[in-house]
Symmetry: C3
Subunit: 397 residues, 3 copies
Amino acid sequence: MDGRQPPSRPAHDGSAYHLEKPAYNARLTEVGRFTPMGELLRRYWHPVGMARDAGATPRTVRILGEDLILFRDGSGRPGLVYPRCCHRGTTLYYGKVEDRGIRCCYHGWLFDVEGRCLEQPCEPEGGRQRDRVRQPWYPVQERYGLIFAYMGPPERRPVLPRFECLEVLEAGEHVEADDSSIGSGGIVIAPCNWLQHFENVVDPYHVPILHGSFSGAQFVEQMAVMPKAKFEYGPRGIKSTQLRALPDGRALRRITEAVLPTLRVVPSPRVGRYGRVESIGWTVPIDDTHYRIYVAGRVRAAGELAQMKSRYNGKTWAELTPEEHQRFPGDVEAQTGQGPITFHSEEHLVSSDQGVSMLRVLLQKQLDIVAAGGDPVGVAFNDADACVTFDAGQYLE
Amino acid sequence: MDGRQPPSRPAHDGSAYHLEKPAYNARLTEVGRFTPMGELLRRYWHPVGMARDAGATPRTVRILGEDLILFRDGSGRPGLVYPRCCHRGTTLYYGKVEDRGIRCCYHGWLFDVEGRCLEQPCEPEGGRQRDRVRQPWYPVQERYGLIFAYMGPPERRPVLPRFECLEVLEAGEHVEADDSSIGSGGIVIAPCNWLQHFENVVDPYHVPILHGSFSGAQFVEQMAVMPKAKFEYGPRGIKSTQLRALPDGRALRRITEAVLPTLRVVPSPRVGRYGRVESIGWTVPIDDTHYRIYVAGRVRAAGELAQMKSRYNGKTWAELTPEEHQRFPGDVEAQTGQGPITFHSEEHLVSSDQGVSMLRVLLQKQLDIVAAGGDPVGVAFNDADACVTFDAGQYLE
Amino acid sequence: MDGRQPPSRPAHDGSAYHLEKPAYNARLTEVGRFTPMGELLRRYWHPVGMARDAGATPRTVRILGEDLILFRDGSGRPGLVYPRCCHRGTTLYYGKVEDRGIRCCYHGWLFDVEGRCLEQPCEPEGGRQRDRVRQPWYPVQERYGLIFAYMGPPERRPVLPRFECLEVLEAGEHVEADDSSIGSGGIVIAPCNWLQHFENVVDPYHVPILHGSFSGAQFVEQMAVMPKAKFEYGPRGIKSTQLRALPDGRALRRITEAVLPTLRVVPSPRVGRYGRVESIGWTVPIDDTHYRIYVAGRVRAAGELAQMKSRYNGKTWAELTPEEHQRFPGDVEAQTGQGPITFHSEEHLVSSDQGVSMLRVLLQKQLDIVAAGGDPVGVAFNDADACVTFDAGQYLE
């Protein structure tokens, strides 16, 4: 053989040399203003902080790629405003909260929680034309210990929903909120796109692999059994029913839901109780490449929610060394390991990805509805329609 | 009401949902090469360092978005050169300063303070063709303890101006320089556009708010009184005269000036002395999003300038905790709080912003003059025209 | 003279004001996929790690701008795969290495070292259609204590070359590998383009300047003598012969070579031994702005290679203070001092840069060959042609 002639070898043997430039589905993932998913998400209320976060000290909030200032005026009303003062642009983070609103540090303009300019102290007579300006703001409401904001078109503002599982309490229960991203796997602000986590909610098959055999039992033994799963479209999202045959001959029936806009409705994988779901979580997009989960749930003792956090090799996620993160990966590693925004162009979805596929179809459909001027699933404009009931729960049969 | 029908609500209620994409005025703010403001600023001399910064050890300097190397050859001449050696591009930061200039570490080319190549030791006969290359350089001059550079077209190089307030000294006075950004509010290198600070010089109304009532008296009590202000165009910039009625029936007349290119001519807000202005400051753009202030002033004792620095809640700016920065904001917070470059598209200027508006008009006019091939205000081409007198000062009446 | 009229001054006096926007030669420097130089380099084998780096714990590797995962399966075969699992994109960095390959943490897909999918445990029957997917991979081989990868088109894969200087050992010698970038001047991962270092190999004239007079004798005294150098094209690269007249009347003849793709074939500048070259180094591009040198050499004692490292003022490079780096610059400072990628548009090559010019011509020619569908110099497709002999060495005459 002539050494200048390459041997005959197949031109395509799976080599990474042939990889095409990867791409992600921006329509499904990007949440900023003027994006399709950003518009869809802005048709719903989202938690932006704990009720206690709205106080006398202005606080920065980042949500859906927008930076905002959260505060509570002296009469107790929470406010969420654009940070740049509409006068000369200084951030209201340095503002002073007063009885009637927030005052900019630079020239002292005072705004109420709906952005109305109440004072312009450097202007003659305190600003004769102060009604001509308005500080950009978003409406907020408090419920379940959380502050919810509506960041969409005013004329499309829905009623803030109520949830049966948080409204109907058993004796001794109360509702508690948590902002530490329970259910994320351990991280508080996850450096990846929100959809990577939201899809995980409708992916029950990874549980016995990632949380069972792979890293040791992260949850409880029952969860290490590969389930038989069924997926259905529900009125507001995707419902998955998983059956697990238990060693004692009985079966664990577990129902989880992914509900628009970002709700994870998942019974505790610690399987501490049977019955209807005890908490719900909002997978709130901070921006395109970060999310955080707010949870509200029925508890009997304060701090009970935080005890739902996963343990790895006996440690909390934050206590793991880099080597242990590699050896005992969980949801954080699996999802942030897909990158800031996963490349959908490189995926190969298979039959066990049915939930993921259905969720994407549902989201795409809502994007189309909004683009056509309609209202997406689950928004309601009167209180009667705004109470949401879930099937989620876990039952021994 | 049908829950699928939104309630009637005004489509525009000031919601941040309707904010347009923000934009800044690049013409007024950007200072790099090949930009309009960059060209305008390059028609003037700017301080680039303290006289002591030019020495036997090459020193990096960043100004108007350009990185340069400052040194002083063995015969005492300061030099300011492009950092990349014109041979193979190695930075002269690693060069050796010699009697006749600076020598590149890589192949030993030696350049004088005007970029002439004096030696090429790897070439036959030390480089027969060394005159064909020249290390890019800028002319510099020393005055008032500062090194000034001219970075514009050589044929338009003006005379380095003298300033009456630094030339005519009273008995016991001498001129001192300072590079710690006196007047910035406390930071040395401010992470925002230079114009945000320069405009502040013609904004006397913010003083009783930001420096008076808002964070406690940062200056002295007199400054907490809201002034009556008047604004005028002067020969080289904007002059503002502020009258403050004092409790004892007298009046404080305070005159401040913003003079091209970047001069802040402001009597000490500590009001330690009455009379003509005692110091001037150059708001030097490091690049589009950073500036630093060089000051030269008449003092009776070394270090007197540094004592003009503001205090907040009894502390220097650098000593404040993050919480104190938020509670006691000053100029640094107000101006960097406008962002790296403020979004002019979102501003709402009012009557008390007259000084800011006039300064912008003056700058725009100079941009037009330079674009048309002319010389902007305040440049002079002979020594007789190059002495600058200010009206700035403060007087008790 | 009217002060409004500038003095007559030459419009061009070498001022940096006239510098044009700088540019680099992307064709010669950029190494990513789909670039000309990237394609050329991908026709050769490159070291990607030490043999010991391929083990039971997945390890990230960055080379030619690509991030990859290196591991060794339970049967001892090294594997180099694309990090994103072809299923849902989770990185195989969190994978588990098993006897037959690497298993993704998320859904448990198992891949062998050539990317074949062996198991899909969430799918019915372990994945009836698992042959439809393949994890992108690159072929690797072990030699000289290093793992070499071929990242180019499969049908053009050459034989991994052998090197006479590493194959023919003298009594008591063995071959040792090192990944600490011996020859770089001291840094392990250099933050600049690989070509800046590779060109340095054919630039013998800088040695007496940078490593001799400038920073004190970094190597040995003989190297401080300015050589007479000759440059020739060889079969695989550029050969340079340098003669140095020694004080005792004898001459040091030193032959160095820069061989494609990235080989530095340089006798130790410590001049510990005379004779043929004892080690070779690969200037491996990590990406466009970082490189690392892998070395393999004949030694008599383990760790001997590492003793070739330069000392500056008696210290190792890593021990120098910032001030000492400035005072005693070496290859790291000279080459990273050219910037992440040097601006070729600003260079002024002279006669002593002949080696650099010739290397660029050779590289350009290979780029043309590859673009025309040919094979560049030095690739061989059978073992008989794949043994490489060098002229490099140093001799006393």
